[in-house]
Amino acid sequence: MQKNINGVMLKKMISVGFACLDEKKDYVDSLNVFPVPDGDTGINMASTLRSVIREVEGAPSNELPIIAQAVSRGGLKGARGNSGVILSQILKGMMAELAKPVDTQVVGKMARKVANAITGNESSGKPLTDVTTKHFARALDNGSKVAYSAVTVPKEGTILTVIRVMAEESKKIARSEADFVEFFKKLLAVGENILAQTPEMLPVLKKAGVVDSGGRGLLIFFGGMLSALDGTIEVAHNFESDGKLSTGGIDGEGIEEIDIEFAYCTEFNITNMNKKTTMAAVDMLREKYVRMGDSVVCVGDLEMLKVHIHTNDPGEAITAALQLGEIINLKVDNMLQQSRDLFAARDIEMKDQGIVAVAAGEGIVTVFKDLGVDFVIRGGQTMNPSAEDIAKACDRVHAKTVFVFPNNKNIILAARHAQDLCKKNLIIIPTKSVNEGIAACIAFASEASIEENTESFHTAATAVKSGSVTYAVRSTKLDRFSIKEGEVLGLDSKTVVAKGANIPDVTTKVVEKLVDKESTSVMLFYGEGIKEKDANALHDKLMAKYPELDISIIDGGQPVYYYLISVE
C-alpha cells in the first residue's frame, strides 16, 4: 500500500504523466474546439509539461520541496497556449501546498529555505518529505484556487471545472482513503464523470459533440500519475464517449516513393447558400483553405461557389463549406492511391515501342490515339511544349523505346533536347506537320523492329504532301504575295500558295497545288470555327472536281488552322 509519496515518487509521477499526455496529444488536439478551435490543446499541454520535466531533471536534489519548486518553475517557464498556462497554474498551486513546512519531519537546510521561498512564509517549521492523501487533496484544492484566481470571468465546462470538482471531491475521498493508488482511482473516476458533463455546461462543446480537450488532457496526465503509483505504465483509456471531431490526416506510411504533400483532391460546389452567408465569409473560407492545403480554388458568387483543394483532411474542408450552404457534386480522390496505381501499372509490362505525338484539337488528338499513339501532348503552332513536357510524356509511356512526333518544325528542337532529359530511348521523327505525323503513324507496325519502323516513318512522312489554310495575323509581304491582316492564306509545307477572302476557295486552290498525277488520296481536317455543314459542302465540291481521288474529311478541331490538308 502506497501511503506516502516523496520527492522521488513525485518526480516519477510527473514524468509518467507527461509521457502519457505526450503520447495522446494528437488525440487531445482533435477534441479542441474552445476557446479557439485551433487543435493545439494537447501539444500545448505536453510542451508545458516537457519544460516541467526539464526543470525537474535539473533539480539539485530529490527532496520534495526542491522537486516541487522545480515543477512550479518549469511550468511557469514553459507555459504555452491557454490550456498550458492553466495547467502550469494548477501545478504551481499544488506544489506550493506540497512544499509547505510541517513540524514533524526532518530534512536539510536547503529544502527548508526553498519551501519558505515558495510559500512566502518565514516559518520555523520544517518542510515535509512525505505527503499523504490528505495533503495531496489540499494541494489539489490549492491548485484549483490558483488556477481560478488568474481569470476574471471563469468559463465552466473547461479544464477549470474538472480540476475544481476533482479538488472538492478529493478532500472527501482522502478522509477514507489513505492508499494513494485507491485515492487516485477514485479521483480519476470523479474526473471522468465531470468531464462527461462538460458538453452540458459549454454549448460549443455540445454542438461539436466532444468533451473539453483541456479536461481530457488533465485526466490523461493524472492517469499517468496513477500508472507511476501502481506500476502499470500503460494506461488504458476508453475515449469512446468523448466524441470525435476529425479523423486526422494521413500517416507517413507508404508514401516514401511518392512526393505528394496533400493527398486528397477534393472538389465540390456550394449552392443554396444560407441566407446570412456573406461574401466576406467566402473570403474567409478561401483563406482557411489556403492554410489547409494547396491548389486552392474557391470562386463564384452567393448563388454558386466552386471549390477545389488538395488537402490531407477533406472532412475539414467539407465541414467548413457546410457553414455556408449546401454541397453538391462532391468528389474526393486519393491522389496517393492514384499515384501508386500508376507506379504499379508501370511495373506490369513494358512494351518494346511506344509513340508520343504533339497535336492540338480534339479531333486530331483522337485520330492519333486511334492510330495507336500512347500519349498525345497538347500543343502545336501557338503553344510549343517544352523539352521537359516531352520528356515527362515519354516517361509516362510504358515502353522501352519511344518514337516522338513533334509535328511542327518549331518543336523538333525541343524534342531533341528531351532525349537528354528522358531515361528512355527516344527516337525523334522530325515530322513538320500534323499531316506528316498522321501519315507516319499509319505506317507503324508494332511487330516490326525499331530500325524498320524508323525507316518506314521517314518514308511515310516524306511521301505525304501537307498543306494548310489559316489567316494572316498582320499585313506583310510573303512569297510574292502581299497579304493584308485577316486575309485567308493557303500554304503548302513551306510557302504561301494561295490567298483570298473566302476559306473554301483558298482551300480548293491549295488542294489544286498539292495534287499531281501520282496522288491517290486527300485528307482534310477542319478546325475550330468551321461548321460541319461548310466542311461537307467543300468535301462535295472536291469530290466532284477530283472523282478519281479518295477524299475524306475529318473534324480535327485544331486551333489556328481552318484546314489541314494531306495529299498522298
Partner: protein, 96 residues
C-alpha cells in the same frame, strides 16, 4: 471606417465600434487577464488591425497569455465581423 460585405438580404456594415466591443468582451474572458481594452483599431478594405493594452494577473507567463489573447480575440472578431484580423499587437501595461 467599418467592414462591409453583402449577403442575399443586402449590405452589412460592421462599425469599428462594434468590433471593438466584441474584442473587449473576448478579452474579459481570456485566462490570465485582469483587465484591459482595445486601444486602437483600424479597418481598411475589410482588413482589421488592432492594438490591445492589457493588465495581467500576477504569476502568469506574459508571453503565453499574450499569444492566447491574440488567438482568442482574433477568432471572436473574425467570427463576428466576417473579416480578417491581419494585425493584432498586445501591450502589457500592468500586473494585478
Amino acid at each position: 471606417m467599418a467592414t462591409r460585405t453583402t449577403n442575399l438580404y443586402g449590405k452589412i456594415t460592421v462599425t469599428n465600434r462594434a468590433i471593438r466591443a466584441v474584442a473587449n468582451a473576448a478579452l474579459r474572458e481570456c485566462y490570465g487577464v485582469a483587465g484591459g481594452r482595445v486601444s486602437f483599431i483600424d479597418v481598411e478594405e475589410n482588413k482589421i488591425r488592432m492594438v490591445i493594452r492589457l493588465i495581467l494577473k500576477y504569476g502568469v507567463t506574459p508571453e503565453a497569455i499574450c499569444e492566447s489573447v491574440r488567438s482568442q480575440i482574433r477568432y471572436n472578431v473574425e467570427n463576428f465581423a466576417g473579416a480578417s484580423v491581419v494585425e493584432l499587437n498586445t501591450f502589457v501595461v500592468g500586473i494585478k
